[in-house]
Symmetry: C2
Subunit: 115 residues, 2 copies
């Protein structure tokens, strides 16, 4: 089991901003798994909660992968920034897929590079 | 309600490593709040899941603040890295306090600077 968190590298976000966006995405998808895929969640939790942070460019690419995960019934989340600090309101910054079986997450994210 | 995530700035971690450690801490403390402080959790969730990422130096300082939070009955988590990539095994990297009322979290973290 793994969770992959995708973050946009084209927005010029600071380290702290990136970390907060990744945490938002991670928490929301983890709770979705807890409620809808309890077995995946518990196996993931027991085995150390594997999280992989990867990067991509552009809102379109991020939304496309998120929508594919949703359409395949995987736990997934997407983060829209409120725009109070560094970004225009409504900017899509990050998305998480999983916790879910490795191969199902890899099919949607395996080509992306580590942040 | 807020959650503050403290991350060590003295370890030379990469952006992606920092983001993953912050997400580990955030998820664990969020689930603790869900199970032990459901009212705090729900208010935090409804109001946008405020997360603040701050920095500090050294294991001692991080562990001290985590232990204070635990002793005050606040949801809190601390992350020990498995040491598979950038760090020696067992290195303490990050800790989260909350979701909890702003003033109770601020008392333990309000002097720390944003990452």
């Amino acid at each position: 089991m793994k969770q992959v968190i995708m973050v946009r590298s084209d927005l010029g976000m600071s380290k702290g901003k990136i970390a907060a966006q990744v945490a938002h995405a991670s928490v929301m998808a983890a709770f979705e798994a807890y409620f809808k895929h309890r077995e995946w969640f518990e196996e993931w939790w027991r085995s150390g909660q594997k999280k992989i942070v990867v990067k991509l460019e552009g809102e379109e690419e991020l939304v496309k992968r998120y929508m594919e995960a949703v359409s395949q019934g995987l736990p997934a989340s997407i983060v829209r920034d409120a725009g109070l600090t560094e970004l225009p309101p409504g900017t899509v910054t990050a998305a998480a897929i999983g916790p879910a079986p490795d191969e199902r997450v890899d099919k949607l994210t395996g080509d992306l590079r580590l942040l």
